[in-house]
């Protein structure tokens, strides 16, 4: 019996979302990044299109976060003490976008609080250092996030930044700031299909256009709940392809953040011998978490280590370019 390759028929597609604005578009970026548009499951080109490859955002911070792994400091060198140098190094490492993290009191180590004026200054500096589209995430403390991100939104008006993160307990102020100043938001929910949809609906109801919302279903790292994130993303993407409008947002996930906060990545001594080489383990952890989530529909993966960036970039290229024969 001859083989006919089965093709799934889908009625929906993921929305396209563009991050960053060039001069002509009211910003200062030299390039913009468009994600989404899929009408197939990831990389299955025989049944639909994937007009834009998944993209890599590289996470940098306004100052070296005290709770980050020393391996990251080793990898980036002195650049981590200067956001401008760090942004340039991230761009050189192959980033498609930059994610600037504003550190909070804990990460600062000295207990100091970031101010709105400082946030404006560092965002301005990073925008000057790189022409890539920018995402800015607050420290993850509701009041502080609101204060800092409102200032950042105003400072970078028209740049089509991604502001994050919006959560169901704290989204109104950030969404309003994005609306007022021409930015996008990252809509984050804890690994649940319905919660992800709900927050998209709430954000839309405030009035932000759908092409300015990234869906961040969040994930666990490898070994720490990746299977939940993986399946939630797979279900969201299948729902999107089957026409459920409120799931049709491109998905952003943060395997770098998840992977690098673990003992596997942070600690080199006093761990079981079967865990192997520290650096290899940490990079493999970030890479495998990312590559697995690319299979479940990630449109943007946020990474931290230069070796992970190189590997994931190369993997995406090959996933996007099927050769005719089997050899890669």
């Amino acid at each position: 019996m001859p083989v006919t390759i089965p093709k799934n028929k889908y009625s929906g597609a993921v929305r396209e979302v563009t991050i960053g604005a060039t001069k002509a578009e009211g910003g200062t970026r030299t390039t913009t990044v468009t994600v989404g548009g899929e009408s197939t499951l990831p990389f299955l080109f025989h049944e639909g299109a994937m007009p834009h490859p998944p993209r890599i955002a590289v996470e940098i911070a306004d100052r070296w976060p005290a709770d980050w792994s020393p391996l990251l400091r080793e990898a980036w060198g002195d650049a981590v003490d200067d956001p401008v140098a760090w942004a340039k190094a991230a761009e050189a490492s192959g980033a498609d976008l930059i994610l600037l993290r504003l550190t909070g009191p804990v990460q600062r180590g000295d207990g100091s609080k970031p101010t709105a004026a400082e946030a404006r200054k560092v965002v301005r500096a990073v925008l000057g250092a790189t022409g890539l589209p920018l995402m800015v995430f607050g420290p993850g403390i509701a009041d502080l996030d609101n204060e800092l991100l409102v200032a950042v939104a105003e400072e970078a008006a028209g740049e089509r930044l991604v502001l994050g993160v919006c959560e169901d307990k704290n989204y109104r102020t950030i969404v309003a700031a994005a609306m007022a100043h021409g930015h996008l938001v990252d809509s984050r929910t804890p690994m649940d299909v319905n919660l992800a949809k709900q927050l998209i609906i709430l954000t839309r109801d405030v009035g932000l256009p759908m092409d300015r919302i990234l869906m961040d279903p969040s994930t666990g790292a490898l070994g720490y709940g990746i299977e939940y994130g993986y399946s939630v993303m797979e279900r969201l993407r299948l729902a999107a392809l089957n026409g459920d409008s409120m799931t049709q947002q491109p998905m952003l996930v943060t395997p770098g953040e998840e992977g690098w906060k673990l003992k596997e990545s942070k600690v080199g001594e006093g761990v079981p011998a079967s865990w192997g080489n520290w650096n290899e383990r940490a990079v493999t952890w970030e890479v495998l978490t990312s590559s697995t989530l690319l299979q479940s529909g990630a449109d943007i993966v946020v990474l931290r280590h230069p070796d992970s960036i190189t590997e994931i970039k190369s993997v995406i290229q090959r996933l996007m370019a099927p050769a005719h024969n089997g050899h890669s």
Binding site: Y224, G276, E280, T284, T292, M320
Partner: protein
């Protein structure tokens, strides 16, 4: 092809005797069509009907078993494309390849490395399944010696990779008492290789080669299906597929086609597990691990690696365990109070959830800190701290209930409880729920606990 419920019904006795546990033959037929029951549940089917139905009753992806000195690996029998639809049942076997042209000492050393590797993950010991010995020497006797060297070093499972039947025979003789996977039959050699498999009652890989770049996916799978049909007719039923593609995209697409054909179209000639060789499609060791990871998530039945390192083994084994976890049954631990490092009445009381990954992360950290403590595991329906909190399963009320009902206060002389940093917002409410208690906020991540406890 799969039979519909009505087609199956026509073959049943139609007596509605209920011996199968269903009210009517039709109801039973419907369940059978959905593969939710076994034909054997009806004791009255005629032999003729049984033959006609066996095709419809067989699992869409054949179960393949390897064995060795009491070790057993079962692969196949999968029923879904996405793990959320039900679960993935049989984890892919992971093997490390050694070549027979290496010195025997080195073969033994590499085997011992794989053999001795075991890593603990949430209380489960994880390890690779075996060794794949590749025929590169051109000398069947040397292949036999290499297989013997491996067998002398490990009780793990074997794959014998040789397209020369003489080498396979030498390998099988050296692997006496084990059932290895033989690899591989192709369009040229299949009669002789299949004979060796038949005599040894060993499962066999069927391979189409990828030398012609103009081959379409259809042609490739057509060739593979034709070969498996011929070999099955010849009398070897336990087959494994190697569609001959190696790169990231081709591997994903082709293995997905095979899985869908087997499950959705009940395409028998491709209803077998798939074997992959990620090292042949990779540019570096990290790249091999990445491709292997893709294949573990997307439907491989056997994965043969060319490299072994502890760090990569740890990562791949954890990924395999995660992807094959039953989504309907989150891995949980019993709620209650757990003593760590012989705590006394003045040791700290820390609260967390009963999601096993959370529990083990926290417990491991407290243990490695060397400091005694009581770990109070609250029933959060098997969710992690953040997820449970967002879902309302780890709120002040539940935590207070855990504190009161666990018997924790009988074990300690103080009234202090440490809350995970991620739920610091619960502090106020918890103070109201637990009058007289002092609520302290711990770190967000388990890894920061030792430093916190030492403060």
């Amino acid at each position: 092809m799969a039979l519909s419920g009505l087609e199956i019904y026509k073959l049943l006795p139609k007596t509605n005797c209920k011996d199968c546990g269903f009210p009517t033959c039709l109801a039973f037929a419907m369940k059978l069509a959905q593969k939710q029951v076994e034909l054997a549940a009806c004791p009255h089917v005629s032999e003729a009907a049984q033959a006609a139905l066996s095709d419809a009753a067989a699992p869409p992806i054949r179960l393949i078993t390897l064995s060795s000195n009491g070790n057993k690996l079962e692969v196949g029998n999968e029923t879904v494309l996405y793990r959320h639809e039900k679960t993935f049942f049989h984890q892919p076997g992971i093997f490390v390849r050694v070549s027979d042209d290496l010195p025997l000492d080195e073969i033994k050393a590499r085997t011992a490395e794989v053999d001795g590797y075991v890593v603990d993950y949430v209380g489960m010991p994880l390890s690779y399944d075996g060794l794949a010995i590749a025929y590169a020497s051109g000398n069947p006797e040397q292949f036999g010696d290499a297989v013997k060297a491996v067998c002398d070093t490990t009780h793990k499972l074997l794959i014998l990779i040789a397209d020369d039947p003489a080498a396979l025979k030498a390998g099988l003789a050296a692997a006496d008492g084990r059932t290895p996977l033989l690899c591989a039959a192709n369009a040229e050699n299949w009669r002789r290789v299949a004979l060796a498999a038949k005599n040894a009652k060993a499962p066999l890989v069927v391979r189409v080669d990828d030398s012609d770049p103009s081959t379409s996916s259809e042609q490739r799978l057509d060739g593979l299906a034709k070969l498996t049909e011929d070999i099955a007719k010849f009398g070897v039923d336990d087959l494994v597929l190697d569609p001959g593609v190696r790169g990231f995209n081709e591997s994903l697409a082709t293995i997905t086609h095979i899985r869908r054909l087997a499950l959705k179209e009940n395409f028998r000639a491709l209803g077998y597990p798939v074997i992959t060789f990620p090292g042949e499609g990779a540019t570096s060791q990290l790249d091999e691990v990445t491709l292997a990871g893709q294949q573990i998530a997307k439907y491989a039945g056997f994965v043969v690696l060319d490299h072994f390192t502890e760090a990569s083994a740890y990562a791949l084994l954890v990924l395999r365990a995660n992807i094959y976890t039953d989504p309907q049954k989150p891995i949980q631990v019993e709620p209650g109070v757990y003593p760590i490092n012989n705590p006394g009445p003045d040791s700290p009381l820390m609260v967390t959830t009963n999601f096993s990954i959370t529990y083990f992360s926290v417990a491991n950290e407290v243990e490695s800190s060397g400091l005694p403590g009581w770990l109070l595991v609250a029933d959060a329906e098997g969710m992690s701290v953040l997820t449970a909190w967002a879902a309302g399963k780890f709120d002040a009320e539940r935590i207070a209930k855990a504190v009161k009902e666990s018997g924790a206060s009988g074990k300690i002389s103080h009234k202090q409880v440490i809350l995970p940093g991620h739920v610091a917002v619960l502090m106020g409410e918890l103070e109201e729920e637990l009058p007289g208690w002092e609520i302290k906020v711990g770190p967000r991540e388990a890894v920061d606990l030792p430093a916190f406890l030492k403060m």
